[in-house]
Amino acid sequence: METDLFLAWFEEAARLVRENRDRLNRLDAAIGDADHGTNLDRGLTEVLKALDDSPAGSPAEVLTTAGTTLIRRVGGASGPLYGSVFRQMGKSLETPVTLAGFATAFEEGVVAVERLGKAALGDKTMVDALAPASRALALAVRDGVGVRKGLDQAARAAVEGAKATIPMQARKGRASYLGERSIGHEDPGAASAALFLEALATVAA
């Protein structure tokens, strides 16, 4: 997995988020404050700018720049959270990037979010999409399937994970304020996490 793939990843993610901006805002309106799409859209636009201004020399650099930019430009809960995913991945990732190396770095990114957000599987957050994706990657590595197939399985797992948040009662973030009323809605952060993984699968396909 080359630097260009990671650059393409964020371009595609930015495009997908822009396309789903209103949907993410609507999901956030139902159980939050209606700005998740706006926040991520703003953040990823800045990420592309940053990657333009200081061309990254390695996949790790791409991830670090992306993570730092999200932290510095998004605000809200998702900014620091997504920011630390990518920053942690950037720290852990070694070049050349194999699927195994990527899977390990991704897992460490997920752990970073869980730590920062004190969130666990089932709390109805982005973790519910990220963790299943991480497990899917691990299995793909174990089964020795190729990069394309592995990322594809990760994307599916993330989408399923996001859908699985619908019946959950939120225990973290704004949605938790609604108590039982948070049940029956997909978590916007889980939905956007799925978009990130779909974006990666697309550019790797």
Partner: protein, 326 residues
């Protein structure tokens, strides 16, 4: 959406320009609002912040006896670490800086990150979490910070002005938060400029109970009843969590779109309720202090004050939104 704005994206920036133009006592730089005179040597600096759309919170509380700086984020979105770091450095007088943070995941995370990144300045943080509408348990992000933020900023600000040490200022801030409770009710949703339409639809005959200050829906939806009954709902929720007794500092706060005459109608009911419980309103505020854009509705905040806290509440304050004693 009908709003007095230029563009949805420039609202916060344009409003900050207006704030700077209207108040020579303030200085605005890089989305941070400071006291014009800058930090005072040996005084603990107070920094607060959060999403915009709650005006006058927080920038309207920057000035003598209250905050040293406010960090307004985008509308309903907590600020990023950079301006918080800037503000922390900008207000440091050598005695350390207190971060007053409303308990929302976004605010907590961004202030945390900022605090970690200014190793050279001693930073203490107080989380405001006064909203009894949210059950405080392992199963929530904890209670939201709402109206009590005004009490915390005023009283901690007064103590800091007297030259108290960071630990003392942080302690009194935490004490005020512990002694305070709030509950909010919405008659209408608010409309965020970026969204362009109401966050939730509320029928002509219903209200949302236990709302926050970001247009989030509340915990329940009930028919619109009289001011007396609505005030009763709010006060029962507060009294059930922190029994009303002794001297109370009470704020009846408008959500932004509710006229003052209605807030006074509510205050009359709140006062009657307090009297009924044998407690006493020793100090009060009625008006728009912690708003949610154009939302119609109100929140009640109560702080069980003692003489020491009352003295600090009465201490001189000179900010755009709160001023007395000078």
């Amino acid at each position: 959406m009908k709003k007095l704005i230029n563009t949805a994206d420039s609202v916060v920036e344009d409003a900050l320009n207006g704030l700077a133009a209207a108040h020579p006592s303030l200085r605005v730089r890089d989305q941070v609002v400071y006291r014009a005179e800058g930090p005072r040597r040996g005084k603990v600096g107070l920094v607060s912040g959060g999403g915009s759309g709650h005006e006058p919170l927080h920038s309207g509380f920057v000035g003598h006896g209250m905050l040293d700086a406010a960090c307004p984020g985008e509308i309903f979105t907590s600020p990023v670490p950079d301006p918080i770091i800037e503000a922390t450095r900008g207000v440091d007088g050598g005695a350390g800086v207190l971060h007053i943070v409303k308990n929302y995941t976004g605010d907590v995370l961004n202030f945390e990150m900022a605090a970690e990144l200014v190793e050279d300045i001693e930073v203490a943080t107080v989380l405001v979490d006064d909203d009894v509408a949210v059950r405080d348990s392992l199963y929530t992000a904890g209670r939201r910070g709402t109206g009590a933020t005004v009490f915390v900023e005023k009283i901690a600000g007064a103590l800091a002005e007297e030259g108290a040490a960071l630990a003392e200022v942080a302690a009194v801030a935490a004490e005020v938060d512990e002694r305070s409770r709030s509950f909010g009710i919405a008659l209408t949703s608010c409309t965020a400029p970026a969204a362009g339409k109401p966050t939730f639809d509320l029928p002509e005959t219903e209200v949302e109970l236990g709302i926050g200050i970001h247009g989030e829906p509340g915990r329940a939806r009930v028919p619109l009843v009289s001011a007396r009954e609505l005030a009763g709902v709010a006060m029962e929720a507060i009294h059930g969590d922190l029994p009303l007794q002794g001297d109370l500092l009470v704020m009846v706060n408008g959500m932004g779109g509710t006229p003052l005459i209605e807030l006074y109608v509510v205050f009359a009911e709140v006062a009657a309720f307090v009297k009924g419980k044998g407690a006493r309103i020793s100090r009060s505020l009625v008006g728009n202090y912690v708003t949610s854009l154009d939302m119609q509705g109100f929140s009640v905040s109560v702080c069980r004050v003692d003489d020491a806290l009352t003295r600090l509440w009465d201490a001189p304050v000179e900010t755009p939104a709160l001023r007395w004693g000078r």
